[in-house]
Symmetry: C2
Subunit: 322 residues, 2 copies
């Protein structure tokens, strides 16, 4: 995403946020600093902080006090990423592990834990029980979502509702909360806070569905990972669910997706079946429906430069091709 | 530890705590319930909840409102345990991983995250910024401690101060905080809260040093893990540090402990050198010194049945032989 153009109204604050983010993981433990610094410097779109700040800007011109919360949201997000990257059985070399390999997973875990704790520490500094409750409940639910995703791997009998509930936890929830707390901290009225929370939810749903589509359609060079990497991990997303239900080749697809061994051997065949099933087009329609709902939520709040930016981000989310 | 005899003054509250603990990890995700339930039903001494409740009982007779905090402390502790168990390169079978193995580490991570988030959620329910700050700062420091432990593995040049700082983070801190928040929630005065925090610190230090001694001296059947398991992982504890400095065989020990390969081959030789170096006796003296300091702290608070129980636990900690 060429994020900078959408983020003009909060350019200065995002810059301070970035500095604070770096400070938040600046410890005197070189290894930890290296691990979390690596993740921070790898960039990322800073979408969640931007949502906190842009949402806040819809209701007040003074948003400096939102910056710690913006940092916290990115830290929660990064903690999730780091923990998602922990792997089970790699990095062994000739049947024996190197010291580096030995500490690989553990470092990932501890740096994730560290970032989560730092995030909650930052939220705690507001001394507001409502904010703390929102963020800790979110962490609990995000964890549950990750576990549901593990459980549903290779499960070809899951329904579309299962999928939607899963991506709600995995992605939409944190974006929704970013918008909610942005509005809360900016002093928005309860109906406005609710509208922004729902805006974030709808946008987050659309964002993840689009991500799941791109996993099938985008180039490896653009994705930074092999096309169909979800399928290869047994993660069954909306295009696949559609194909499992409506493709004339559904039974063949079913046989592939229900078995890790078959997926390993026939991932490309599965991807082809899904691509020609109409599942991509169906998923695009669902993503658009969510964005339309997100836009309706925005109409409930006062017009502003920040609202326009949010609206443009929403439109971009479901039309981006990478 | 035959914990029940020390815990008589808080028997009823510990029972409720146990039920609340089970409820805290009772989700509708079978896999998560299974993973965290396994850990809970595996028992454990519930030392941290007991410290919250006993410390509280030193200052008030009504301690029911301390139970959620006691649950939170145990959840933080269990989250640490679960994340400590994550391994890097095991469970591969004939070079390829089973689905169970594949999800093993990830489940550990997510259930740990879940327990940590639940813990902070519970603390958040008190709506007290001071408590939240204490607990999140503790989590941050515990993570840092785990990382320092990774970093110091196989490092034969670390000093005794490094070791003490490490076990402070790893063990003493959470016990110290358990006592501190117990006193805080019971309405103890600031000097009393401070005394209890320091009591917990000294007791925690002694507890970990004794654990580190037992790793060399106790039977495999008692420990539930092989004797010398720290050494085998490259974790250099107080008896080893003493031997590295004062044993006539120090240079041989140094050569073993500085290399994972040598440790793997010659762990038993290293254990023998340490056992005959006087490092065990030295460490026992250090552990006793800490317990004496802990007892002095207890003398600062009013006499009560709960204080007696705490004092007996302290004495037990550094004399137990398992």
């Amino acid at each position: 995403m060429q994020s900078h153009e959408f983020f003009t109204p909060i350019k200065r604050e995002l810059q301070i946020m970035e500095e604070e983010l770096i400070k938040a993981v600046d410890t005197n433990q070189p290894l930890l600093k290296q691990a979390s610094g690596h993740l921070i410097h790898a960039g990322g779109k800073r979408l969640r902080p931007a949502f906190v700040l842009l949402t806040g800007s819809c209701f007040t011109s003074k948003i400096d006090h939102l910056i710690p919360m913006a940092v916290a949201m990115e830290l929660v997000h990064m903690a999730t990423l780091v923990h998602d990257d922990v792997i089970d059985n790699s990095m062994s070399r000739r049947g024996r592990d190197t010291v580096k390999a030995r500490f690989g997973n553990r470092m990932s875990i501890y740096s994730g834990d560290y970032m989560l704790a730092k995030a909650l520490h930052k939220v705690g500094e507001y001394c507001r029980a409502d904010l703390m409750k929102i963020v800790t409940e979110t962490s609990v639910k995000v964890c549950q979502g990750e576990i549901v995703q593990l459980q549903s791997a290779f499960d070809v009998d899951q329904g579309i509702t299962d999928y939607l509930r899963r991506i709600e936890r995995k992605t939409a929830l944190l974006i929704s909360v970013a918008c909610q707390v942005g509005a809360l901290l900016a002093g928005a009225s309860p109906p406005m806070v609710r509208a922004m929370r729902r805006f974030g939810h709808y946008l987050g749903m659309s964002f993840q569905i689009t991500d799941d589509i791109l996993d099938f359609t985008a180039d490896e060079s653009v994705l930074g990972k092999p096309t169909g990497s979800d399928i290869r991990q047994g993660i069954i997303t909306l295009p696949a669910l559609y194909a499992l239900r409506y493709s004339p080749e559904a039974s063949g697809l079913r046989a592939i997706l229900s078995s890790p061994d078959n997926v390993a051997r026939q991932a490309n065949r599965a991807i082809s079946i899904i691509n020609r099933s109409g599942g991509i087009e169906y998923s695009q329609k669902v993503a658009e429906k969510y964005i339309n709902k997100a836009q309706l939520m925005l109409e409930q709040i006062p017009s502003s430069q920040a609202r326009t930016a949010l609206s443009r981000i929403a439109d971009f989310v479901c039309t981006r091709d990478y």
